[in-house]
Symmetry: D2
């Protein structure tokens, strides 16, 4: 696969772990990945926060990336999540994933003390200049305590392998501020934003957990956008939105495993220290997903 631009629907993947052995359930992960590709997604992103990356050990991470790359089989790019407290810790992971064959990484800085803007910029720059694959910037200040403000993103977009940004603040206007000031960074919608709206503003796609649960519908949304059928796209967008609301309500990690179990994938439970959703919440998710799928079917 030659290096062309990332775009379209790139689902975050869950991390299915066999409870007894603590090993990755490679078969489930492989099948899920293959199914998503068949349904038309444009890339795969393992080891995101929705993939419970913070709760995996190094062996598990390596197995997950290896399995997803096998399933991707050069048909679609794989962008692995990386979280680290120090640049060095990030670089070591990324260099390993590079050798395995990832197209890029989504970088998420862990922190204890509040970092200054300058400390954040130097962190990311140290990482990006020490590796050669793509670095997708990811902003989720609610969870990570790091805020990649538009000013920081603009500064970092000057790096040659920093070309993508995903923002999870939900403040759509931040994206316009960035898009107004540079062509050097491509923006992906996160689930906190309305994907179609972000694409209309100039975004290039949707990277998010919900796309793992409704891949066909997500791909259709993207296609309607590309065909400039925005009004039709908005109708579909409105139906799909219920999935985003589920993810917000129950948190992405718990929602994804619950949803995929509903859809027949044996992905297991959330990882320690996360506790699984209760029966009532599981049932709500089950019903909601069926309702959305039915609505969309009727709408076709």
């Amino acid at each position: 696969m030659e290096r062309e631009k990332l775009k379209g629907i790139i689902p975050y993947l869950i991390s299915p772990i066999i409870e007894k052995t603590e090993e990755v359930n490679k078969k489930v992960l492989y099948n899920l990945s293959k199914d998503l590709i068949k349904k038309g997604v444009h890339g795969l992103s393992p080891l995101g926060s929705a993939g419970e990356v913070h709760y995996l050990n190094w062996q598990q991470k390596k197995d997950i990336v290896t399995t997803v790359l096998e399933a991707a089989d050069n048909e679609v790019p794989v962008i692995a999540g990386v979280t680290a407290f120090t640049p060095q810790e990030a670089i070591e992971q990324i260099r390993y994933y590079e050798k395995l064959g990832v197209y890029g990484v989504v970088l998420n800085i862990n922190t204890y003390f509040q970092l200054t803007s300058n400390e954040i910029i130097q962190f990311v720059r140290k990482v990006s200049t020490s590796i050669s694959c793509e670095v997708v910037l990811y902003n989720n200040p609610k969870f990570s305590k790091i805020d990649l403000t538009p000013d920081i993103v603009l500064e970092l977009s000057k790096e040659k392998n920093i070309n993508y940004f995903k923002d999870a603040t939900g403040e759509t206007s931040r994206l316009l501020t960035i898009l107004n000031k540079t062509n050097d960074i491509h923006i992906f919608s996160a689930s906190a934003h309305i994907p179609l709206t972000v694409m209309e503003l100039g975004g290039v796609g949707w990277m998010a957990g919900p796309a793992c649960v409704i891949p066909e519908e997500s791909v259709r949304l993207y296609n309607l956008f590309c065909e400039k059928k925005w009004q039709e796209g908005m109708e579909l967008q409105k139906h799909i939105w219920g999935i985003n609301e589920i993810f917000k309500k129950y948190t992405p990690a718990k929602s994804m495993k619950a949803s995929l179990n509903v859809l027949g994938y044996d992905v297991g439970y959330p990882l320690h220290p996360l506790s699984p959703l209760n029966e009532v919440d599981m049932q709500t998710i089950h019903e909601e997903i069926n309702k959305i799928k039915k609505e969309i079917f009727q709408h076709k």
Copy 2:
């Protein structure tokens, strides 16, 4: 003027106070209002937070509403801001404004203790059932400590004179959640959102301070939306966005008086306890406004 729906561009108005006498500068306010109407705005909203309503006394408030109603002269609806710690305090103000002739009010709850969802709902319901004009719901949790969540808005939208909602969280996706669940409430964009995007999602207009500074451009944005020229609208939207950024950076109240002084209106300084912007910031605003107006002119 018969009771038809609110829509379009409704600028918030500043409150020009003569420093020496502490009286409202009625002439400046009247002229500004008349100019805005001439430029095509669809309504006028005095006594918003950008109008420094929290820092005005009762006499000043009455004079402002009276002056704006005179200027509006039944050509456009006037929607006055109301802030209050208790329902009773709000009702007293609103009944007075109703007699003067306002079309509706924008309600902003003051609070000291955190209120429960139920206390918020009962507050607003008590107000709306005690008056007959329109109540525009306004959400700005960052400043008011009250969060009108989608659930609260949906509940309140059942009241017969609660038909409009303006949200200033900047989280555009909240609006889709509401629009997906009811037709009983019409949504206005605030400056924290991208107005054109909100209208494409189903919103009916833009109520905000920036529209007071660039009324013609704002009206044109609305017209492009109505004519379904969305791509052309997006070009204009991108140029206009700089004004929103100024307002965010310097706070609406300070930005508006600074901007209008730049444009030749003798609106005076921010009111105590707010301090005026310094010379450097004033100059920045001056240059930014000129730049935006020039860009838009070239773009035509």
Copy 3:
């Protein structure tokens, strides 16, 4: 009463309003005030946030201050709460209370926009230089969004009628920072702090709602401190602490009315928009107060 220093136990008073007429229940307020004085308190403070000052109209406020001053009858100083969005609004209230005969006021700044340190300092200074009674500084950033940091307090302590500070952050170390740097300000404990500890650090007393519910025990705590019986004081302090915990759990305004009703004062319900506690919570408070009073009795 000559102007000597404030000290000791100064309970905040509730505001008993007759639901039907919206008038102050002067009799209950007078009796409560008289009872507190008989039990040895060193001052009375009506119109605090626990007195629901934000939800009272001007007539109610005047009636409350008048009634409390009548009950105080020059035996103890009266310090009235004042909340305002502007210096002018504060000054008008204070001048009226001065004429009625208050010893001082507790100043609480309302705000919508975040104020800068300088804007806060100028607000308070404008007030303090326009009146002649004492201004007690009050810090409660969680509720008021204004943080009177040690630096601001130190700056304001230079004013001749700003000699007292009450902090409700609960961060006791802030008090030591101030006490280490000036002798110009006397510190009162709020309920978020441990009163005995604050007095040991150099504080002069306790101004708080709980002192209204357990006046005798509070006065005894203060006396043990004065007699340097700190270890005995700590035993009493530990028993009293349960009241502080009730106030924190149920909010001061709701706890006070519930507690005083339990104690036989017909103080009525919390004011709109506050809703009253439910039966279960009322019962918990009832039991807790009885338990504490019994413990203290056994301890004597």
Copy 4:
């Protein structure tokens, strides 16, 4: 050293890393540890957040604990800091440290998603029941996003090897709430609290970075407390307080390395991604420490 209770002054240690080789500067760490013991401290705590534990790799952590244990030489207990996203990650580290000979660990939970009270309790319980050394609970919600509320601490104090709690909220009253309800947990002051005050309330000592910079004075403070010379202790406490203020202003990690460099220990710079303090701040710290040491000397 038999298992007796932790108490007294237990300084957190910095982590001196040689910039070029990224190796631990064992000599400096050994000497600092030995000096502290000579000056009378009652324990040593490496790998705290002030020891930049989040920015160290596994080899560095092992070398640090090994070096400190050598210096401690069974004279004083060593309590190593442990941070982890999962119970398993914590258990692996602790089991290693146990074999090396630590007395206990200070547990600090890393998290990305907000954990529920129950998830927190299960996390800590899983760790404590899988190891045999002491687990010191540590609460610093501002930095870790985990709040060990009094209820959680009370629940966890039932475990047989959970006997100590250090709280960094600065809200001293939380400690009284806990001390009032159990004898099963011993409380250490953190620097956000006033150590002498915490001990008067029933605390057993002070675990904190400042004690590393002023060990003799800290030990003297503790001794005055033990001898019940509380008033004399308070005088000393007031002088010492300036060190706490420095640590709050410049953050513990940066302040400690700057302070120890001033005192002649070649501890190097803060670790990536932290940037060192600038010259002006370094000079301020230098002067402040000299001033405090001089004040205390005069006070003797």
